[in-house]
């Protein structure tokens, strides 16, 4: 497979970004390969109702 890219002139005025978050990229330039992965876990079991108990501490 042959893939041809022609980059013509690019002029941008103002860029306003509120947030770049959780494995994201804002790039002004060229690149070859970008791999971004983000896992986000909020299952029902993560809602604990009752008296406060500390989380299990790191062992060792």
């Amino acid at each position: 497979m042959n893939f041809t890219v022609v980059n013509r002139e690019i002029n941008v005025g103002h860029i306003d970004i509120v947030g770049v978050s959780s494995s994201s990229v804002f790039l002004v330039g060229d690149t070859r390969c970008i791999m971004l992965s983000s896992t986000f876990d909020t299952p029902p079991e993560s809602l604990i109702i009752g008296p406060f108990v500390p989380l299990a501490a790191e062992v060792g």
């Binding site: 893939f3 041809t4 978050s21 390969c33 876990d41 604990i48």
Partner: protein, 149 residues
Amino acid sequence: MYRRISMVGGIYVNAISFSSLLEIGDSKYITPVMQALAVKREYPLIFTNEGSFREYSIFSRPIPRLPMDDPFAMAIFNEKPTINVSTIRVTGVSSSSVVHIGSTDTINAEARIKHIRQLLRQPDDEQDTPITEEDIIATETQPSPDENS
């Protein structure tokens, strides 16, 4: 490989946090990794030695990757040698993210976040009784976290 030059008149970044990066100039590899236990508590009682990433499978399970097994020929023609941006304003860069002025080769970023919320009582419980110290501090140990999540 021939790369263009990034021309930026001015940049303002308010905050960078949690394994994030503001890079001005070219780079080859960028590999930020971030793991977080995001704990929200109705009563703000926090101990410094709390939490273990090994207790939760989200921090160890493999992330599927797209196989790049189809080789292809890529030709790039840059008609202008520059990418021009006059001004940039970014309020926040967080959690294994990258703001990059200039060219790069490979970016491989990873963020893993586990949310845990701890409430003292059900939302529909009797709200008139004040919260006592017994409500906040428990004596029994916490059941082990569910690994099926």
